[in-house]
């Protein structure tokens, strides 16, 4: 039924990071360089496998138990896209870490936790089972709590504790939501739940249990994605982590655990309703505005980036929510798919440029020892690679034409007009403008101006760190090409299709069960 490639390689997406983590903890304790080698090899292998699997689609029943009975992996367009993004960002982050993490002790623990986080995220985006989603969400979360506290200083411990408490409350709410779904339907498989739920809705009033479950999911995944009423942990946790971890957290973790899971559950399992669409639109718009205005006043480089993450997540949720709303009221389907496309594309873009920005901040911090913009200045000649890549990423996030951020924002604006929400388009443009101002400030203070005397001796960052910056910058520049027709059909359209099909997802997810 499925190709041999699919059958053999898909399990490795989980097994390699997990096995790598166990192996590193087992044998790399004494020899630091082994941890480097294993960590980088593992992420490289995941990247290669993710690309090889890119065109594969299908359902994999783990242990040979057909879907409703056992757990299954469902590989569709959206999962594929997420897996590739996770693999790309984690590969560049490990390359960056080999030299950056020399500052810390216990490097093997770092790599082991890093790979566990990757395994957790891969598990979340591949799974087709609600409870399994929760389990792997916890794998990734627990590893990230520990990584935020890795430096062991005052602020890091405080941020990690805050993050742990809020995110654990979120996880518990998600588990309660899953319990409600189980109590209402008797299944845990996403496809089977979708079937049962749409049946219940078609036959009359949906059970209040489902409503309560939806509320719990919004709050739980909202905490993980740091949407605005639930965001307070993010501006503390993301800057406190070591730079490669900040890049992973902002770049992929909040997307895989928050946005992806939210979109998957609401589009494909519970089914989109107009009310839910509205909630997502409002939350998205709120995140955009609040995030960007809080970011403007920041002088700590990483903290500023973290607030921008909240704002940019708002774009993604806005696009996805708008699409869901239009689909749910049965409106213009073309506008709806365009909005979702904008959201998904912005998700991909954001993970590239935001991880690049965080790695740049790490590179600057590595050489200058500070994160305060006011203490920098004049790094223009001293750190040319960092300067160039940081400029590219800043222009991307601000939505300046040739770079990737521009295209996805443009699509969201067009979709908002087409769907009949000009005021949303106006907010989007306004927020984009404020973002631009904020990043002009960053470039002005970090790279122009007078070099402080304390920083006369600095050099460009080590080669491997610069290499990972360059890789991401190339993607930043080139990702606009994805919109060229051939690539778009290959990469983005399947991902959009996976969401836009709504509860039809059940057909695919239960395919092996013989049409259930």
């Amino acid at each position: 039924m499925n190709g041999i490639l699919f059958e053999l390689l898909l399990p490795l997406l989980i097994a390699i990071p997990l096995g790598g983590a166990f192996l590193i903890a087992l044998i790399a304790r004494k020899v630091r360089v082994l941890a480097d080698i294993f960590g980088n090899l593992a992420t490289l292998a995941i990247l290669i496998i993710a690309v090889m699997l890119f065109r594969e689609r299908g359902v994999y029943s783990i242990g040979g138990w057909a879907p409703p009975l056992g757990i299954s992996w469902v590989l569709d367009g959206l999962s594929n896209l997420m897996v590739v993004i996770i693999a790309l960002v984690s590969f560049t982050a490990t390359v960056f870490s080999t030299q950056y993490m020399e500052q810390y002790t216990a490097k093997y623990k770092y790599y082991s936790l890093f790979l566990l986080m990757v395994a957790g995220m891969n598990g979340v985006v591949l799974t087709g089972d609600m409870f399994n989603l929760f389990v792997f969400l916890e794998v990734a979360s627990v590893a990230s709590y520990a990584l935020v506290a890795f430096g062991g200083r005052h602020e890091e411990l405080e941020a990690a504790f805050k993050y742990l408490v809020l995110a654990s409350i979120g996880s518990t709410l998600i588990l309660f939501g899953i319990a409600f779904l189980y109590g209402a339907t008797g299944y845990l498989n996403m496809g089977a739940i979708a079937d049962a739920v749409s049946g219940a809705i078609a036959s009359g009033q949906p059970s209040p249990l489902l409503v309560l479950a939806a509320v719990f999911f919004v709050v739980g995944f909202g905490v993980k994605a740091a949407l605005v009423p639930f965001h307070p942990w993010l501006p503390d946790a993301h800057p406190s982590a070591p730079a490669p971890i900040s890049a992973m957290l902002s770049g992929v973790l909040i997307k895989a655990l928050g946005i992806y899971a939210l979109a998957r559950v609401f589009f494909n399992v519970l089914g989109m309703t107009p009310l839910l669409g509205w909630i997502l639109i409002v939350v998205g718009a709120l995140s955009m505005v609040v995030g960007v205005f809080l970011a403007v006043g920041q002088w700590d480089f990483k903290r500023l980036l973290a607030y921008h993450s909240i704002s940019q997540m708002g774009y993604v949720i806005l696009g996805i929510g708008l699409g869901g709303y239009v689909l749910a009221i049965g409106g213009n389907r073309q506008a709806a798919t365009l909005a979702i496309l904008g959201g998904v594309f912005h998700l991909a873009n954001h993970s590239v440029f935001k991880s690049l920005l965080f790695l740049c901040s790490g590179s600057i911090e590595y050489r200058t020892g500070t994160r305060q913009l006011k203490e920098m200045g004049g790094l223009l000649e001293k750190m040319p690679v960092t300067r160039a890549t940081c400029t590219i990423a800043s222009l991307s996030i601000a939505g300046v034409p040739p770079f990737n951020g521009f295209w996805s924002k443009l699509i969201i604006v067009i979709a908002a007009f087409q769907a009949g929400f000009p005021w949303l388009a106006a907010i989007t443009i306004l927020v984009s403008f404020v973002t631009l101002l904020s990043f002009i400030k960053v470039l002005r203070y970090a790279f122009l101006g007078k070099l402080p005397d304390a920083l006369k001796q600095i050099r460009e960052s080590p080669a491997l760190m610069a290499l990972s910056l360059v890789i991401l910058a190339v993607f930043c520049t080139g990702m606009g090409l994805i919109l060229v027709p051939g690539f778009r059909q290959l990469i983005l359209d399947p991902a959009v299709g996976a969401l836009a099909q709504g509860v039809e997802y059940a057909r695919g997810a239960l395919a092996i069960a013989g049409g259930h």
């Binding site: 997990l18 983590a21 166990f22 903890a25 783990i62 242990g63 138990w65 409703p68 009975l69 056992g70 757990i71 020399e102 500052q103 810390y104 002790t105 216990a106 623990k109 770092y110 082991s112 936790l113 566990l116 395994a119 957790g120 598990g123 409870f131 399994n132 389990v135 792997f136 916890e138 794998v139 627990v142 590893a143 709590y145 520990a146 990584l147 506290a149 890795f150 430096g151 062991g152 200083r153 411990l157 990690a160 409600f180 189980y182 109590g183 209402a184 339907t185 008797g186 299944y187 845990l188 498989n189 059970s207 209040p208 249990l209 409503v211 309560l212 020892g369």
Partner: protein, 186 residues
């Protein structure tokens, strides 16, 4: 019916324990009340015909209590001063009240206690586990067969969470976090 009455009594006891754990000033009493709730859970699991869970719960509870007591013993008592943020408290209380109100209403649609969802849905996976578990996996304990065969992948994830948290705890508690040459703090 008898089981239900026992359970209600146990639950009232556990909620009382929880309130004591939440409100008492002394951390050690708080931890011990938590232990009481945990043992209440274990007894409740026995009433609910879940012996596996009762064993796991009681064992985990013991370990958890030992850890918590090690963490708290000899450390500070809560400072009595410090004003209470009434506005925040009011918001939280209203939120809780709303949650309980809607929650209890929603539970009306769960059906009567004692008639699980698998009784009404014949093709639910649980019925397949009960009917074919012994034959398909060879394990007489159906919970184990679900845990380690039908849903073994979940168990891998759970073992991984434990591994990650232990490694994380070791990483958090390491003596020196920064390498010497660039030592910024410590």
């Amino acid at each position: 019916m008898v089981v239900e009455i026992y359970l209600l009594i146990l639950l009232v006891f556990m909620i009382a324990g929880a309130l004591i754990a939440v409100e008492t000033k002394n951390l050690l009493s708080s931890v011990i009340s938590l232990g009481a709730i945990g043992f209440g859970m274990s007894i409740a699991f026995l009433f609910l015909r879940a012996p596996d869970l009762a064993i796991v719960q009681i064992a985990v509870e013991v370990v958890l209590l030992v850890f918590l007591i090690r963490a708290t013993i000899g450390r500070d008592v809560i400072p009595a001063h410090g004003h209470i943020n009434w506005a925040g408290l009011a918001v939280v209380l209203v939120l809780m009240a709303g949650l309980v109100f809607f929650g209890v209403r929603a539970f009306g649609s769960l059906g009567v206690f004692g008639e699980p969802v698998i009784a009404s849905i014949a093709e639910a996976p649980s019925n397949a586990y009960l009917a074919g578990g012994l034959e398909q996996t060879g394990s007489a304990n159906i919970v184990t067969s679900v845990l380690l065969d039908y849903r073994a992948y979940d168990t891998l994830g759970e073992a991984t969470v434990l591994f990650a948290s232990i490694l994380g705890a070791l990483a958090v508690l390491r003596g020196r976090s920064w390498a010497k040459k660039r030592g910024k703090e410590q």
